[in-house]
Structure formats: structure tokens, C-alpha cells
């Protein structure tokens, strides 16, 4: 059951987008194969972590899930449908751009784009969820890196998503900032939002758990529940990655 982490008294009447199913999905850009034959499911429940070295195609996978890109080959379905319900997904991009407005105005804008009323208490509640209570009138661009990341999270939550895609949300943060964001992610996940998160940080993957989808060079190498993946990886590449090898 989802409690209203992001929905204040508004009952969302939309079909579920889960499971999101990738079937032999390819993505090519300028004759370069970024993803090849990717097949896996994103189902409800604990977070799905996309794990892999830089350049393995994690960002592209997230963007495909968010329908910001269309596959060059293969099929992508949302609960069996060709396209998602539209309003049930949200994404936080790597290095999110802040609009040149106040924190509150950024959130109101996101609410308006999601066709939700931007009442001040809704804005305040969202800020509260990400630990930015009282930041309404600060210029968004003046926030610290960690604060901006959390604001971007609030913007995504403004869509009251069923599925939340996160692209390396703590990549540029210090340990304190990282912990802050991770705590929020855990809270959101417990409230019932499906998290799909890309990371190349093993420690983070271990901490957040769920399902691991391990990618190298655009291919899914291994897919397993987190404890199994970390305890006994079944592929060579996974073993080398867990051992800390730089080149897989």
C-alpha cells in the first residue's frame, strides 16, 4: 500500500505501469551500439539497481524507461502496453539543472507540468520529504550540490510517480550529502514508490539492496537479487567488478 508520500489527498486514478519489461532492446546512436539485446524486468517492490562501470549504458536504460528515448530494436512494454500511462513515471537526471527561480518556484513548475495544483502546502510537504523544509524562497541555483540533488528529487516526486528513475543521484556528493540522499531514497522506497537507480558505487548498491541488474558495455551480464549477487556472482565480469577491477 502506498501512503501519501507525495500525494496529498489526491487519489491518483491511473493504471499501473509495472512491470516494465525490456525485451531484446537495442539502442544505437550514430551507428554506435550503446545497448544490445537488453532483456530484464522491472517489477514492483524493492529498488532495482542498475550497476556497472561508466559507459555501460545505465543512463540510456533509465531514459528508455522514462520514454525520453525510443529503442532502436526490441520491445519495451509497460504492464503489457506499448506506452506508459504518462504521469506515473519520473526521473532525476545526472547533474540536474536548476531553473533560475526560487526553490518553491521550481517545485510549482514541476507540479504544473504534472497538472497538479501548486498549493503552498503541497510544495511545503514535498520540501519536507527531501529535507529542504523552509527553503522555499532560496534561489535554486545557490543551493549546495546535495541540496540541488534533493530539490531535483522533490521535483520528480511532485509528479506523484509510481516509478522513480534515478541516475547516479549521489555521484557528485560528499559522504554527508550522499547519506542524506540515500536516506530519502530509502524512505521513498518504503512508502511504496518503485525505485530504479543507476550507480557505479558498490557500497551504495550494497546499502540499498533490492535487485541488481549488472551491465557492461551495453549488455546485461547478470541479474539477481542483491544478496545473491554480492555473495556469489555467477559471471566472470561480475566477479572482477566486485573485486574492484578497473577494466571489465
Amino acid at each position: 500500500m502506498r501512503d501519501d508520500v507525495a500525494s496529498i489527498g489526491v487519489m491518483r486514478d491511473r493504471p499501473s505501469d509495472l512491470p516494465i519489461r525490456f525485451e531484446a532492446v537495442d539502442y544505437r546512436a550514430a551507428s554506435f551500439a550503446i545497448l544490445s539485446g537488453v532483456t530484464f524486468d522491472i517489477g514492483p517492490g524493492a529498488p532495482t539497481l542498475l550497476l556497472g562501470p561508466n559507459g555501460s549504458g545505465k543512463t540510456t536504460l533509465l531514459k528508455l524507461g522514462m520514454e525520453l528515448l525510443t529503442p532502436s530494436g526490441g520491445r519495451l512494454t509497460f504492464a503489457g502496453r506499448q506506452a506508459s500511462a504518462g504521469s506515473g513515471t519520473a526521473i532525476v537526471l545526472q547533474k540536474p539543472a536548476m531553473m533560475r527561480r526560487s526553490v518553491a518556484a521550481n517545485i510549482s513548475f514541476a507540479l504544473a507540468a504534472a497538472r497538479r495544483p501548486a498549493y503552498p502546502n503541497v510544495v511545503a510537504h514535498l520540501l519536507d520529504q527531501v529535507g529542504l523544509a523552509g527553503f522555499e524562497h532560496r534561489p535554486a541555483r545557490r543551493l549546495s550540490g546535495g541540496e540541488q540533488q534533493r530539490l531535483a528529487l522533490a521535483r520528480a516526486l511532485a509528479r506523484d510517480p509510481e516509478v522513480l528513475f534515478l541516475d547516479e543521484p549521489t555521484a557528485s556528493l560528499d559522504p554527508a550529502g550522499t547519506k542524506g540522499v540515500e536516506d530519502i531514497i530509502v524512505r521513498i522506497a518504503h512508502a511504496g514508490v518503485k525505485i530504479v537507480m543507476a550507480t557505479h558505487d558498490l557500497g551504495q548498491a550494497r546499502r540499498l539492496g533490492g535487485d541488481v541488474v549488472f551491465l557492461v558495455a551495453g549488455r546485461v551480464i547478470e541479474q539477481a537479487p542483491a544478496p545473491d549477487f554480492f555473495a556469489s556472482p555467477s559471471t566472470d565480469e561480475a566477479r572482477r567488478f566486485l573485486a574492484g577491477d578497473l577494466v571489465i
Binding site: 522514462m66 539543472a97 531553473m99 533560475r100 527561480r101 513548475f109 514541476a110 507540468a113 545557490r142 520528480a156
Partner: protein, 229 residues
């Protein structure tokens, strides 16, 4: 020149000067307003819409930022002359013609600079707009609003350019006493009458006006940096 004569204060206090300054401001403000009406949407369009010939349009707009005022004056003159295509309007040698000429002169400046500003901001916001699934109208509105301080600065630049020029307004306006005589054309006239000290005093007033505009532009930028980031 003598210090006493350097500032012909008696003349400066003349109601005549007030009328000339008022006309100058009126014409240039009106031209800036119309240039904004024409140039901002054009700049936004060139920034956001991909169409064939877009690059050519951008080159033309950038080039026309440096349109010589006399050339603009001449072209508008030929258009509005009673023997010209728009002669029936009887607009030649009127303040309206001067507004038209100055609008033509500064519209490319407004359009070219607005395009640059909006395109740069668009590059920043594009991914987020996609992620938030923002509709096209809301995108344009958001870009224009968020760029408002830069856009106002652009308008002030256009204003300054129009306020400082003499070539266009003297040709289409005719520098008619009490009717189409503005600050710059008065300076030109008084110089040719040998009233150099008076011309200098007027020049000082004009420069003071342009300085004020620029100081205003600067404070707007500083304020915006402080408050909206």
C-alpha cells in the same frame, strides 16, 4: 572655451530643450517597444524551432545588428516618400517615420541577442523540460520568464543604440524645428550653426541619459544575480 559658456544653462532651462528631450525619449521608447514586439518572438522562434534556413536567419540577424543608421534612414525614406510605395500614408518628415526607422534599426539587435540568450537557456533546461514533460507553450513561457533580466538588458541596449543615433532620424524626420527635432539632430544642427558650446552641453545631457540607462542595466543584472541566481 570659457568655463561660464561651457554649460549654456540658460538655454538648458529653456522649455524648448524640455520638448526636444521629451520627443527624443518618446521616439526611442516607442521604437524600443515595437522592436521588442517584433524582435523577441523572432529571436525566440529562431532559438527554439528547427527549420530550413535557420542558420542563414541567424547570420543575417547578427549581421544586421551593425546596420548603419544612415542606410536604414535612406531605405525607410524611400519607402515613405510620397513617391514611394507607402507614400499615401504621408508619414515622411514626421515623428512616426522616426519611430519606424529606429524600430527597423534596433529590431535585429533585439532579435539576435534574444535568440542567443534564449538558446543558451534552452540548452540548460531542455533535458529537464523533457523529464518533466513540459508542454511547448509552457516551455516558451518558462524560458522567457527565467531569461527576463537578460531580456530587459537587451532592450536597454537597443534603447541606447536608438537614443545615440542621428543618421536615421535626420533623414526620415527632416530635423524640423518643433516637430521632428531630437537631441542628436539638434546637436548636429547647433554644431553646423557654430554653436559649439551649446552642442557640447546637449551632448553632455545625451551622454548622461545613456549612462543612466547603462547604470540601470548593470543594477538589474546585479540584482538578478543576487536574488534569482
Amino acid at each position: 572655451m570659457e568655463a561660464a559658456g561651457a554649460f549654456d544653462l540658460l538655454w538648458l532651462a529653456d522649455a524648448n530643450l524640455f520638448a526636444i528631450v521629451r520627443l527624443s525619449l518618446g521616439i526611442t521608447l516607442a521604437a524600443t517597444f515595437f522592436a521588442a514586439l517584433l524582435g523577441m518572438p523572432l529571436g525566440a522562434f529562431a532559438a527554439l524551432v528547427r527549420f530550413r534556413g535557420r542558420e542563414a536567419l541567424i547570420v543575417v540577424l547578427n549581421a544586421f545588428m551593425g546596420l548603419p543608421p544612415v542606410v536604414v534612414g535612406l531605405c525607410v525614406f524611400l519607402l515613405l516618400s510620397r513617391s514611394g510605395p507607402l507614400g499615401q500614408l504621408g508619414l515622411l518628415f514626421t515623428p512616426t517615420a522616426m519611430v519606424v526607422a529606429q524600430t527597423v534599426l534596433i529590431s535585429p539587435i533585439v532579435a539576435a541577442l534574444a535568440r542567443q540568450v534564449i538558446e543558451d537557456l534552452w540548452a540548460e533546461y531542455c533535458d529537464e523540460f523533457n523529464a518533466m514533460r513540459v508542454g511547448p507553450v509552457a516551455r516558451v513561457a518558462a524560458l522567457l520568464w527565467d531569461a527576463r533580466f537578460s531580456l530587459v538588458t537587451i532592450l536597454l541596449a537597443g534603447f541606447g543604440r536608438a537614443a545615440a543615433e542621428v543618421g536615421a532620424v535626420i533623414i526620415v524626420g527632416g530635423n524640423i524645428e518643433g516637430f521632428t527635432r531630437v537631441m542628436t539632430t539638434t546637436i548636429a544642427l547647433e554644431t553646423s550653426k557654430g554653436n559649439l558650446t551649446l552642442a557640447v552641453s546637449l551632448g553632455v545631457v545625451l551622454i548622461a541619459l545613456i549612462m543612466t540607462i547603462n547604470a540601470l542595466a548593470w543594477s538589474i543584472r546585479r540584482w538578478s544575480e543576487k536574488h534569482a541566481g
